[in-house]
Amino acid sequence: MTDDTRILDVRNLSVQIPVHGATLRPVRDVSLTVGQGETVAVVGESGCGKSLTALAIMGLLPRQAKLGCDALTLDGESLADATARRLRQLRGDRISMIFQDPMTALDPCYRIGDQMCEILRQHRKISRRDAMTRARDLLGKVGIPSPQERLSQFPHQLSGGLRQRVMIAMALLCEPRLIIADEPTTALDVTIQAQILRLLRDIQRETQIGLLLITHDLGVVAGIADRIVVMYGGEVVEVGTCDDVLSLPLHPYTEGLVHSIPVPGETKQGETLGYIPGVVPRQVGELHACGFVDRCPYASDICRAGPIAMRDAGGGRQMRCVLSVDGSGRDPAVWVMPDSADASPEREGVV
């Protein structure tokens, strides 16, 4: 990808949070790019730093948190150096965000139309009447029936799926360059999830915006993402195109994730699904080994000797692992464990 089609360029982004004398480092040296018309999925389990990465890009980190990065640019403009005023101009206009829980992300005090108008009128010189028209058009575009009536309704009168559609319409109001969707379907029913994902994909294709999709669900990623960024313990552990990563995962963590997805038709009834034992370690202080070493079935002495660097795996892929890049020496069976073993994984911390 050439530099001029890059919408978002993040290089070595870190977040540090001082807590009771120690320093939490929930995001470490994360680099990622989103190109024009590209959907990039950030995947990882709870607590791996996905959402904080998104908030850091938006400049919405909690006050105590400290942001560090080599570069954080939107269309070539540095977000890290922008003034608070400039950031406010950009947010909602050039870059917008869709939140995880549509039930709590809309203000219960205002009608849908008023909330949408507010965004438009904050960023554009536009009359209230025109703003309402645009809001109504967008509600129709995201597949909301009778949009005119919805404009005058309050959030509590809408179902979860409708509200998430409203959130998407709100994110689109000012024709942003980049949309960050933080687990946009987690709070929704499975049937609605599929609809919302299809909607996001269609809109993204049509408008050629960049979409940064944050999710813990590889199933969500498969149908929609161009590239996948796998995060573990605050670090990026694998980057590659969607097909590559899902068909031949290189990092053991990704491999574990892929093997824990049931495949319709292949996974037999009663068969134990694979899973990754243990939990994400607490991210305090510097790493003195591979962050995944305690949960990795392939772990060797090299992994315990020191932190592992990101390396090129060919074909535009990158991985943070010492294993071979062609997938040899792997055994999917390591992920399928007897039911009794390790039924209650203990919380392991690398402190």
Binding site: M58, L60, R63, L87, R88, Q89, L90, R91, G92, D93, S96, M97, F99, Q100, D101, M103, T104, A105, L106, D107, P108, C109, Y110, R111, E118, I119, Q122, H123, P145, S146, Q148, E149, R150, S152, Q153, F154, P155, H156, Q157, L158, S159, G161, L162, M167, M170
Partner: protein, 297 residues
């Protein structure tokens, strides 16, 4: 998907409307509301309701008993006081001062307390610590005593009384607003508001303030009753409302020497006070009932 009613627009009622609708089905709201409205109407329409001036003395008609006493007459339904002033007229005009003090002091204390509570709740950290310190200091001070000292030192006038009470009763506002704001600040729609580029004042006034109206109204109603009682207490001690102004507390104070001989002189303004405070508390309770279970998702 939502089951679409035939005309969705017709069911778009705001949360405030929902609360009001519930209040109108609440017995306490009706009882309290009717009493308060009646007292307010009487206070406003006093010149039309009684021919007497509350401060005109008629020394030939001192201590006329009320109409239910065998010596009473309809000319002075509640009798007259020690200077021959019509007791009903004094009661009606006194309502003006009592109500006015209640509302004005709560405007002052509500503004102070809400500003402090929002600041503490939204920013947390050291602003929160400082404001908490002020709240704690304020809570250690006995209100009546401080008001007494202030009025005794500076002198007593109606406006000073309002100011002193207003500067004392902000604590409950600050505490309630602070905790309500803390809860709200965690909500995703506040983050969402920042994510669309809203400025901090905009978030405070357009997102936080409308969403804490419920608890705010409840506290305000309780504090109005509190302020009215405080004024009565200060007036009873001679440090509140000064003649020729009348307030219900002052009427109780002036009648205290007659407690054993003409008990109605204390009972009449006393009953009025009890009724007003009771009614305000009824409405306050009703408002709390209808705003707290609000299904604000």
């Amino acid at each position: 998907m939502l089951i679409t009613p035939q005309n969705p627009a017709s069911v778009s009622v705001s949360p405030a409307r929902v609360a009001l609708g519930r209040a109108l089905r609440h017995g306490g709201f009706w009882i309290g509301g009717v009493i308060i409205v009646a007292i307010i109407l009487v206070a406003i329409l006093a010149p039309l309701l009684t021919p007497h001036d509350p401060s005109v003395q008629d020394l030939s008609l001192r201590y006329v008993p009320p109409v239910w006493n065998e010596k009473g007459s309809w000319l002075h339904p509640f009798g007259t006081d020690n200077l021959g002033r019509d007791y009903l007229a004094r009661l009606m005009y006194g309502a003006r001062i009592s109500l006015g003090i209640g509302v004005l002091t709560v405007l002052i204390s509500g503004t102070i307390g809400t500003a402090m509570g929002i600041t503490a709740g939204y920013w947390g950290g050291w602003p929160d610590m400082i404001i908490n310190f002020f709240i704690t200091v304020r809570l250690t001070l006995p209100v009546v005593l401080v008001a007494l000292v202030a009025v005794a030192l500076i002198g007593s006038s109606l406006w000073l009384l309002i100011l002193v009470i207003g500067l004392l009763l902000w604590d409950r506002f600050a505490i309630v607003v602070r905790s309500a704001t803390q809860q709200l600040a965690q909500r995703e729609y506040i983050t969402a508001a920042r994510a669309i580029g809203s400025s901090t004042p905009r978030i405070l006034f357009r997102e936080i303030l409308p969403n804490i109206t419920g608890p705010l109204v409840v506290v305000a109603s309780i504090e109005i009753a509190h302020a009215i009682l405080l004024e009565a207490a200060l007036s009873f001690l001679g440090l509140g409302v000064q003649p020729p102004d009348v307030s219900w507390g002052l009427m109780v104070a002036e009648a205290k020497s007659q407690l054993l001989f003409r008990p109605w002189m204390i009972a009449i303004p006393g009953t009025a006070l009890v009724l007003l405070v009771f009614a305000i508390n009824l409405v306050g309770d009703a408002l709390r009932d209808v705003t707290t279970p609000e299904g604000k998702a």
